[in-house]
Symmetry: C2
Subunit: 208 residues, 2 copies
């Protein structure tokens, strides 16, 4: 046998991506073999090389794609001007965007170490761009005096770790709705940076 009836390159490429993402997240990049991916796609290992020249390229492409999506979505959704509102938008965005992409998030936090230098530089750069968005919000909040922050870098790291951590325990269909979880995390993030809820709510109300 060779070419299969009804086979379509773009479909196969998509399957390879989907399967690789799931397997890399579950077992780790190094622990997953090309044959394992191929078998779940329903194809021979050699067929994958029609789409990706190296195993490493699959990982790079998955991470690149995820970080690009994250960055552009975050620039679209975080539109407020007030630093406190922006921080809340950031927290809510991060939960909302990541909670339905557990495998991508896991990969981009855990498999940077599996990247060769070139790919690593690319992905690390995208990640630091995302971190810069949050840090800029925090610096604005310090300037305007509404946030009580010792060190914006430490605060940014703490906030990101806390938010990203949702993927270690959340599974869809659980006890809590995504909206509830978003609310709880947003509240904890704001409070952790010295923003007292009532203060903020009152200000909001004053605007109306």
């Amino acid at each position: 046998m060779a070419r299969i009836a009804g086979s379509d390159g773009e479909v196969t490429r998509g399957e390879i991506r989907k399967v690789s993402l799931s397997l890399f997240a579950q077992y780790g990049y190094a622990a997953v073999s090309m044959r394992q991916i191929a078998s779940q796609v329903g194809v021979q290992a050699s067929a994958i090389y029609q789409y990706y020249p190296k195993k490493q390229q699959i990982l790079v492409s998955l991470l690149q794609n995820h970080m690009d999506g994250l960055l552009s979505a975050c620039h679209e959704e975080i539109t407020a001007e007030d630093p406190v509102d922006r921080l809340e938008q950031f927290a809510r965005f991060h939960i909302r965007y990541n909670i339905n992409r557990p495998d991508e998030v896991f990969l981009s936090y855990m498999e940077l170490r599996s990247l060769e230098p070139e790919g690593f530089a690319t992905i690390a750069d995208l990640r630091s761009k995302y971190e810069a968005v949050l840090k800029s919000i925090l610096r604005d909040g310090i300037k305007s005096g509404v946030m009580k922050i010792d060190d914006p870098h430490v605060s940014a790291m703490a906030i990101l770790a806390m938010l990203t951590g949702v993927n270690t325990w959340y599974r869809s269909g659980g006890r809590l709705s995504q909206k509830k979880i978003e609310n709880m995390y947003a509240s904890m993030v704001l409070k952790s940076q010295g923003i007292v809820p009532s203060d903020h709510d009152e200000k909001e109300a004053a605007h109306v």
Copy 2:
């Protein structure tokens, strides 16, 4: 050649543990070979089997050892009675204990997936015992009304993720002292659970 002059089994076992820990943390369990470990120890791969019957046993033993140490140290150091004081002690303990064990922490959060069922059950059980310590503090804080918490499970996960995240960025010899970092994280943890610093400080002062 066979036995080497001055060779000592306990020393070699220790070296194997040290090297394995470092390599597993850097490259991931699956990506590290027995020969790679052996070469850094200064021994042939087959020599490792004198000490560990399977590669998997090295990982299990490292994780077991870390979690045991974490649990017993946490029971020793968290001695306060007041829930707020206990939460602060927990936060400080977690930072202090983990910040100097980055490899162990990384392993126990990332390589559970590399464990076969038996080892996984053991380690997961130890981890949930540690989480239970924190959850119990939070429930006490809710009961006595000093913490404003929507859901103790979510709060516990958020706190642990935030604290454990310190290992993703902290490197010794950096800009900030460990004590400063401990202070900042403790403050953020308390605030995130609705404990206003001044409230707590005043209460503390009132006791004196």
